[in-house]
Amino acid sequence: MSFTVTSEVTGGIAKLTLAGSLDSSSASQLQAEIQKVAGEAPTELVLYVADLTFMASAGLRMLVFAKQKLGTSVNIYLVKPQAQIIDTLQMTGIIHSVHIVDTYPA
């Protein structure tokens, strides 16, 4: 499934909605979107990922990139990731750097 990403920044919160497969071919689209919202200096980054079906290491690097681009004080939320994506976040230890939630705001 091809990758799509859309974004909006409201009240200092950047919200990105991701769907499809996030691999080495599509990660640049997410990088561009992160760079776009970074211009508005958001205080939180919320990624809606319920329809994200695949995430390779290129996608994980984008989470690291977001943290570095937006600042380490900016919390990253992943809303409703699929089970296999949670497995990958656990395997790589990146789960400790993000917040996994069912809804945002809680």
């Binding site: 695949f54 290491s57 395997m91 990146i94 750097s97």
Partner: protein, 144 residues
């Protein structure tokens, strides 16, 4: 024993067709969702390294990656063969805790992906034979 092969262009645009090819075979052989995903993740990571580094660093612009899928009594093995630069994933450092905190541009190339490939299948082997890299990934379908 049942064997199927397919050849893909070494391009990032091939990653999705590669995963679709493997996923279709894994589903047909009765792999679980977790096994199927793990296999697709492992082949995606190694194929990405071949496409992004193996062929470009060898100066080859029209590289190919050959996929062979073998079903041998419930053991599903996917083998990727390429003619890019010799690259032994087991000789590569995987990320340390310290690496996880490094800026993106300083992170080891492919290290995170290799760690994921190693952990996502039951067996992962690498050989360099007759100028070709041979990466094989096995999942034990009957064991679940």
């Amino acid at each position: 024993m049942n064997t199927e092969t397919q050849i893909f262009e070494a391009s990032v645009d091939s990653l999705e067709p590669m995963r679709d090819f493997v996923s279709e075979k894994a589903t047909a052989m009765g792999a679980s969702t977790k096994q199927n995903y793990g296999l697709c993740l492992a082949i995606d990571e190694i194929a990405t390294n071949i496409i992004r580094y193996g062929y470009p660093l060898a100066g080859i612009t029209d590289g190919k990656v050959e996929f062979e899928v073998v079903n041998d009594a419930g053991k599903l093995t996917v083998t990727l063969t390429d003619s890019g630069l010799p690259f032994d994933p087991f000789a590569h450092n995987v990320p340390t805790e310290e690496d996880m905190n490094k800026p993106l541009e300083e992170r080891p190339i492919g290290g995170l992906g290799i760690m994921m490939a190693q952990q996502s299948v039951d067996e992962f082997k690498y050989e360099f034979v007759d100028g070709k890299n041979i990466n094989s990934f096995t999942v034990n379908i009957q064991s679940t």
